[in-house]
Symmetry: D2
Subunit: 260 residues, 4 copies
Amino acid sequence: MSLHIGATALCSRFLLGTAGYPSPETLRQAIAASGAQVLTLGLKRTLGTGQPDNGFVQIIRHAAQQQGARLLPNTAGCRTAHEAVQLALMARELFGTDWIKLEVVGDEQLLAPDPFELLSAARELCAQGFTVLPYCTDDLVLSQRLLDAGCAALMPWGAPIGSGQGLLNPFALRALRARFPRATLIVDAGLGAPSQAAQAMELGFDGVLLNSAVAQAADPVRMAAAFAAAIEAGRQAYAAGLIAPQDLAIPSTPVWDRAA
Amino acid sequence: MSLHIGATALCSRFLLGTAGYPSPETLRQAIAASGAQVLTLGLKRTLGTGQPDNGFVQIIRHAAQQQGARLLPNTAGCRTAHEAVQLALMARELFGTDWIKLEVVGDEQLLAPDPFELLSAARELCAQGFTVLPYCTDDLVLSQRLLDAGCAALMPWGAPIGSGQGLLNPFALRALRARFPRATLIVDAGLGAPSQAAQAMELGFDGVLLNSAVAQAADPVRMAAAFAAAIEAGRQAYAAGLIAPQDLAIPSTPVWDRAA
Amino acid sequence: MSLHIGATALCSRFLLGTAGYPSPETLRQAIAASGAQVLTLGLKRTLGTGQPDNGFVQIIRHAAQQQGARLLPNTAGCRTAHEAVQLALMARELFGTDWIKLEVVGDEQLLAPDPFELLSAARELCAQGFTVLPYCTDDLVLSQRLLDAGCAALMPWGAPIGSGQGLLNPFALRALRARFPRATLIVDAGLGAPSQAAQAMELGFDGVLLNSAVAQAADPVRMAAAFAAAIEAGRQAYAAGLIAPQDLAIPSTPVWDRAA
Amino acid sequence: MSLHIGATALCSRFLLGTAGYPSPETLRQAIAASGAQVLTLGLKRTLGTGQPDNGFVQIIRHAAQQQGARLLPNTAGCRTAHEAVQLALMARELFGTDWIKLEVVGDEQLLAPDPFELLSAARELCAQGFTVLPYCTDDLVLSQRLLDAGCAALMPWGAPIGSGQGLLNPFALRALRARFPRATLIVDAGLGAPSQAAQAMELGFDGVLLNSAVAQAADPVRMAAAFAAAIEAGRQAYAAGLIAPQDLAIPSTPVWDRAA
């Protein structure tokens, strides 16, 4: 079973962010433990004022190479479509990929996507040949328009970035899955625990992208492995056909000859 | 990391029930896929009126042998302490083990444990040298008394047997874990999805026992593997130190040089 | 305490929809029992093909007059900004009010608001002097833009219309309240029970609009009274300062002299 | 509609605790605002070491008289059946009532009921002619035995005393209501907000008992009124027949002539 993004098939359904790890070495090991084939990285931190980045990008590039992973530059920190498009163009140059995780944030405190600027940027970038993966809300109408614009996947949040709240609105996510049965849907942001990642996969999502829950864990490497296993477990469960919840108890051990 | 039941250390934290599979062959494969080292089986169905059991017990014995698993006979179907104790004594003879999953049910519709008969039976069986694993509620006081009686582990329900509702009261389960930090605690019954099993493990439980969610799945073998992975993932996550949920978003990608 | 919509102060915080009642007389009584000072009504059903409406509009007008209520025509059934604006203009003529509940739906199955068409229609109608109350999602960015456009209040859904699911995402609603402390915020749609209406008010919302939960109840008149009481209770509780939830029990009856 | 406790019919379904108010005058006013016809009070604080109680009991007696309320002494602070029975006997002398709220706590941190000591005390007190209202868990089997013992009502917790967590396990409470359709069932403890009290009533419970959520509110008098209204609203809603939650949206305003 593989995850499709555009024409690319990936064997891991876990997409990992690379920011905020305690050390470059921990990052390197966490990437390996995750088995992720898609690694996101912020562009803004790598540009700019001439500050060294401690070999950060080099590590990611190297790790990506080692496990056959692709880079997915993001536009974190952008507030307008214009700004995001500019950054995406730079990222394409810098990293040699037309994949872009499109973030355009409209609320500083919850880092909520701005549906208007996001759609505008998505249209522009799709037109320019990018493979666009927008970080979006669970809004059905926005989702439809992003797909119409040509986005390769949708990446709705489960909860605000870094909040670790899990899936705040499973009803909306289920509706999204039902409405777009053929689209690639990835839960991006807000997850804090592997059980929540498994839940997203059991709802039929195609993948999970996260960063803080691994990077900020007490033991990021071990946590990366835990998420990898949970995501795969959730996918297998979805494929294996979950039982429907019941209001009454049903004996698992029927007592057909009451011998005693 | 291993699961301790009495003096026994087991390397799998998944305990699997053996009832209600579509075929003996599916049961055999599901056991293998689960990697379970403890297999529960009802006694009543194997006794009695001379009806053949289609080699059911033989399959379980053989599977147990192959993967170094122990049998855990249960007293499903018992309504009184007396009845459960009698059945446990028979089980010890029949299966050559002093391990017993003690079920004494006091409500037919929800298959709810009867705290009074359960405690009485637990005391009697502990006195007779059994390794007693009671299927119980999340009641703190009952739990204390079962431990005082000498039970080797506690197995509170997550929800009614076979209901697939998941953890109906995580608050109570968390309280149980906090109150008995050194006891072996296993969530038994009510789980429907691997994400729920992972959640139990993330709360710090030592293991998960289930049956219907695997046996009644569309593909029991694949579901057994999914649960096995999720249980291990949840355990690893507990050990790796989960991040605390936050009310506000925290950028995973800090934008320290706003270059654009 | 009063609810402010534009320059108008209302003493009831309950806004009632008038569709789908079993009979005109039940509608009349339910309006009275609700004490609502705002009554919404669909425009499309009153226009058109010359079918009689069984005096429906006349009843609402009369009931409104009797309890000093205002009519709030809605644009239910509209799919585009253009369509909604046309309908609003007709409503202004027909009902002699510039109040409009602006619905522009972008998903047929969940009747989800279309954020793009909604904002466009809101801008147009505000420019034309309407008092605009948009039925919207809990999206922070959309909300900000609707307020910037001059909307008199925001009416985010609790859940899809008629679903009776209650508040699917209390986190998002709380965030909305926190971000716009001075805006008039009304939960519109999705509520099924008075407890859910009270919950919305306890979160600090200014009012609740509903229809199906009353109209489809077994006894709509009694249910209208129940919602009215619950909405007021929730508001009083918000004003009275709720206790914060605790993880541990706190004895309400301290035992300071252990006499026994 | 009235609440039946034994042979007594009460017109209010709100039972109020009297501990922990900021002042005697606030307590007096809160009682009046609640309209409660049952007032609980701890016995231990009124006995013992000769410390004055600031006229506390006198206020409660007087308030009770004024609104035709009954006193319901409780055995808060008791750890054994013996202790609780002794205290109940004293309460009967002191307050001239055979009503007793029976608390026997087995866990200090969560103030969890001890099912064993509780049942034992209930049997003894019923035998001695008391009208026994036990503070219990939502355990079905314990509930059955308490009713068999002759208890006049069951008072399961919603959550630990003073925690303000609301109904931690609505599934269990619903099961309790379904199993004992004719018993008087009152949710006691753990509620923090009027919406939660309404929810309990919507599940079909006969009444709600609380203390901290009123006494510890910023404005206890106003909060007492809020709870009173919410409890009544919840009861009316239960009687009026709530709509069933739906997975899909159902238009409240059907658009039968698409005129535009």
